[in-house]
């Protein structure tokens, strides 16, 4: 299955994906990107050019907090973790996403299109 970079991620989903990734524990940026990619079955791939600005923005908003630690390769790495505010925000983001997905699903279910003969949908 082809991997989607974040340029094709649904709008507003990056914060949700990052927060959800950190809900399982502290991770540094590379680990966050890899976690999203692996748990999505290589469908979603977050571009570094979007990931790191999002991490710093969320940290400034107090959703996540960072601390320096050692990586598996024994190098200094900056680990991020959810704050209490971040957990609350994650719930909001998840609920919002589910509501939107459900609404989109309803639209899809209700709008089953049968192409007329002689009309092209493309």
């Amino acid at each position: 299955m082809a991997t989607n970079s974040d340029s094709s991620l649904p709008q507003g989903s990056l914060d949700l994906l990052v927060l959800q990734s950190l809900a399982g524990g502290k991770r540094h940026g590379y680990q966050v990107a890899k976690h999203i990619q692996s748990t999505s079955g290589d469908v979603l791939r977050v571009e570094e050019g979007s990931l790191y600005p999002a991490l710093h923005r969320m940290e400034r908003r107090g959703w996540i907090a960072s601390e320096w630690g050692l990586s598996d390769s024994n190098r200094r790495a900056k680990y991020y973790g959810l704050t209490r505010t971040g957990r609350a925000q994650l719930k909001v983001e998840v609920a919002s996403w589910r509501a939107m997905a459900e609404a989109i699903g309803k639209v899809i279910d209700a709008g089953a299109v049968t192409p007329r003969l002689g009309l092209s949908l493309s």
Binding site: H28, Y30, A33, E48, A54, H56
Partner: protein, 347 residues
Amino acid sequence: MPALPYWLFPGDDRPTEEIDDEIAEELQLHLDLLAEEQERRGLTPEEAKQKAAERFGDFNQLLRRCRREKQGDVPMLKRVQAVLTGLLLLGAIVVGWQQARIWNRMDATWLIMNGFSARLSDMNDKLVLLEPSSSDPTEDDVVAIQVVDESGAAIKNATLTFGWTDASRSYFDSYVISTDDQGNFETPLTFREKQLESVTAYVPGYAFVSESLNRPFRAGETLTLKLSKAVKQRLKLVAPGDAEHLLPRPLTNSDVRITSRTPESGRSNDSQWLQLRLRTDSEGVVEIDCAADGDDIQLTAWEPSNTWVAGPIAIKAMSEGQTSELLTIKLRPMSPPNGFRSGGGMF
């Protein structure tokens, strides 16, 4: 403990260089891990680094974006802070300048007030000096002055002029004395380090008398000033011709002062500052009523631009029934006027 809202933290306010170093280290780790990942897929280290760099994109641009997100509103707030600080400093300078001006004005006012204060203090000191002191005269230092006429009768309301002297200068104080019924007036011989030097008595209708007080006096001693009846003498003062007036002319409407009177006895009476002001009339005539029969007097007359002197002038009494003879007196310039050759003899 509840967390504070994030908007209370506008951003990371650490120095930009410190933030950049931190972000660069973070991004570099990611870049290196990407390269390692590519190496594990079989690329050479150089190819892996190149592949990772391509995926990563512009490192510095990403660093700047991260910095902006991290700092948030801090740079803008710092600019606002700098502007406000500048305005505050400017305001402080303006206020300080105005305060300095106010202080300068206050200082000037203070100086003026200090000046007034010093003057008042000086006046106060002088007022204090008027209080009795150990140097004030005592009864032992007082001499009585008695003004009488030729018959020994007391004369009241005589004008007395006192001459005082100290180490540096002389003073003349003239004032009208209301002597008592015996014509007496008591005066100290010394006052405020001044020594009484002379006294002159004048009463209209009498020849004025001056007396030196240099001789030692005993306590309670009385100095008797005997005044002779004066002779009324009319004098016509004539000024010599000069560059302005070619011919001799009567000295009209001019001030005249008798400067000395010398009786027949020969002892001159000085009229220093005697309050005896005379004036010629429209014909240059002045009436003398302060010298006795047989006296010689000297006088001074003033015009706006000239000062004249005359004398000695002999005063002679008329026989009873005779009218006063009008004496014509030729004046001499006290100092030769400009353009006039002294001794020209234009009379």
